[in-house]
Subunit: 119 residues, 2 copies
DNA sequence: CGACTCGTACGATAGGCATCGTAGTACGGG
DNA sequence: CCCGTACTACGATGCCTATCGTACGAGTCG
């Protein structure tokens, strides 16, 4: 069988089920500039981005920490693929639980970026 | 001019201007259960609610703290009226800066309340 | 196997924050 | 003027968290 990618190995990461995702945790996860930036890039460049793809102004340890917060809050899904760890937005789950929330946050972030960055 | 309500006195509270409101701060303010509850009540019961109207399971000191976080992040506007301090959502400013954000957060909070509270 | 890359785990640290209690200020009414 | 109400200011406390550095585990490639 072609079985949509066998997740590469036995290294499985704990994710909250859809029903376990809490709005407060999602908002908290998104309230950090680093993490908001990550989510914006994931939304823009499509899913399946490796951790190392992001060039955050912090060490790798801290990057790992932020990705874990995003995963444990239910914002992203993480899957190992070889040595890389691929990250993807949990659009379906978030849209089902909180319709329009992700979209309005992304729009708001984009507008603010223009407002602050573009003078 | 008829001076739309003289704000009762000289006690003025510092608010961020519309352009100074940061998305991250708003999300952080809304990520606390107490504050999210306050915002929900403000949205439901209309503006102009005094601090003492809210029956939060914390002391008054803590309540004051939460209201200040909401005000300084730009989520609410606070005005003294006699000994009372009236609170109102900054709907206009938020909708202008982050269209749809407040609405989707409120909808998400309501849905989650039903989901968790209603079994 | 050996080396290299990617990411983790762990400990440390410093700052933030939610919470409290007490003492104090501002306003309104008798 | 005195008192009660509404809210604040300040200090303390304990937890959470963003950050780092170093040492380690898991895969890949030669």
């Amino acid at each position: 069988m072609t079985t949509a990618t066998p997740t590469s190995s036995s290294r499985e990461l704990p994710h909250p089920a859809r029903e376990e995702i809490r709005l407060e945790s999602v908002l908290h996860a998104l309230s950090d500039p680093m993490r908001l930036q990550v989510v914006r890039e994931l939304a823009a460049d499509g899913d399946e981005l490796s951790c190392s793809h992001f060039d955050l102004p912090v060490t790798k340890s801290t990057t790992t920490h932020h990705f874990r917060v995003l995963r444990e809050s239910g914002v992203i899904r993480q899957v190992y693929r070889g040595t890389a760890k691929m990250n993807g937005l949990r659009r379906d789950d978030l849209d089902d639980l909180f319709p329009g929330l992700l979209a309005s946050v992304l729009t708001a972030a984009a507008r603010q970026a223009v407002r602050l960055g573009g003078g």
